[in-house]
């Protein structure tokens, strides 16, 4: 019996992911640390500004966790939301948990808070890199229906380890923005198959942009998160040179279509990938 990670709220995911009953929230909803910027737009605030943060155990290990609620403002990062994430990361430097887990579901900067959100995302990135520099792994889980985009797509790729389900998406710009900018020929945002081939978990697994691919099941995310606790990857010159070489090699591919890219990577019968289940795709990208 599986529980869909995508269909759970952020708090439900958190409760089911960590050891039962172990989540202790910092700055809980009753503290009413809400956005100071939404009322002027006629929008209601959320008591937790769309992110729940705190401490928990995972497989008995102390972890610091944050879960973004994708349904509130698309999970966008606003001033308070971002400050909660930065506070959590700063606290990790002091508390030295086994890992920091980020259940990411976000469109990136909360446009309704524009400038404040942009600065906030950048503060999250810097604080995350401080945590990694201290030897504490940061693990990002991506499996919500809204995906992980924009500034949060950058934050995700600053982490040690990214776990995605096939439902999850990880990218920079949303397909609608690309279509609005360069036309439907460039990116038909209503072609769901195209969107998932280009930015979804299976594609990111096959190119190596996520480190673990799982089913849309909270238990599968939990197992992957526990395994990732030992996946700290120090950021060194050697690591960055290796990353650079790998990314530079991608430019040798001339097209914009996923199936062609997978075929160029040597994946047999690439056109079938979208129809394969997670286990089969995992095997195809095994490393």
């Amino acid at each position: 019996m599986t529980t869909s990670y995508a269909e759970c709220s952020a708090r439900e995911r958190l409760a089911l992911l960590v050891d039962t009953g172990s989540f202790h929230e910092w700055l809980p909803p009753a503290q009413r640390l809400t956005s100071p910027h939404l009322a002027q737009l006629g929008l209601p605030a959320a008591f937790d500004d769309g992110v729940a943060i705190g401490r928990a155990t995972l497989g008995g290990h102390t972890v610091f966790v944050a879960a973004q609620e994708g349904e509130f403002m698309g999970g966008g990062v606003g001033e308070v939301h971002g400050a909660k994430l930065v506070g959590l990361l700063k606290r990790a430097l002091r508390g030295r948990p086994r890992a920091v887990l980020l259940l990411a579901e976000s469109g990136g900067v909360r446009l309704h808070e524009a400038n404040a959100g942009l600065i906030a995302v950048s503060e999250v990135m810097r604080a995350l890199l401080d945590v990694r520099a201290a030897g504490i792994p940061v693990v990002v889980l991506i499996g919500g229906a809204n995906g992980c985009f924009g500034g949060m797509g950058l934050v995700a790729r600053c982490a040690d380890h990214v776990v995605m389900s096939d439902i999850g998406r990880l990218a920079m710009s949303g397909p609608e923005v690309i279509e609005a900018s360069h036309g439907v020929e460039e990116f038909d945002s209503r072609d769901r198959a195209l969107v998932w081939r280009t930015t979804g978990g299976k594609h990111r697994w096959l190119t190596g942009d996520c480190d673990t691919l799982v089913e849309d099941d909270v238990a599968a995310f939990r197992t992957a998160a526990i395994a990732a606790l030992s996946a700290a990857k120090p950021i060194t010159m050697a690591a960055l040179e290796e990353e650079h070489g790998m990314l530079a090699a991608r430019l040798a591919f001339n097209g914009a279509e996923a199936v062609a890219l997978w075929a160029a990577q040597g994946i047999a019968d690439a056109a079938r990938v979208p129809d394969l289940d997670v286990a089969a795709v995992t095997a195809l990208g095994a490393r």
Binding site: P28, A39, E69, E71
Partner: protein
């Protein structure tokens, strides 16, 4: 030009079932067609309800939903705080009941 603004509504209804002390309860999510409800202990014998909603002009419906909720639960000494983004009365009632349900030991 359209001048957006949240509508705020407040109610205080005398209850007969004291909720006593409890850890605040949160149910629901603020999203399109949805709402969140925070339930906290409050001094006095009322069930106080504070609503902030982006769907303006539905005061009469909120009154009715809140009255019905109070008729079902009769809570005393609680503050109910709502952030709403256009949920239907059925969804509002559901969330309120879910919140009240979490008070039962």
């Amino acid at each position: 030009m359209n001048q957006p603004g949240l509508e705020t509504l407040d109610y205080a209804l005398p209850g007969t079932r004291p909720a006593g002390a409890f850890t605040p309860v949160l149910v629901g999510v603020v999203g399109s067609g949805n709402l969140e409800v925070l339930l906290e202990p409050a001094a006095g014998g009322d069930c106080r309800v504070h609503v902030e909603t982006s769907a303006r002009g539905f005061g009469a419906i909120w009154s009715a939903v809140v009255s019905d909720f109070h008729a079902r639960h009769q809570l005393a000494g609680v503050q109910v705080s709502i952030h709403d983004m256009g949920a239907t009365p059925a969804v509002v009632s559901l969330r309120l009941d879910q919140a009240a349900q979490e008070l039962k030991p």
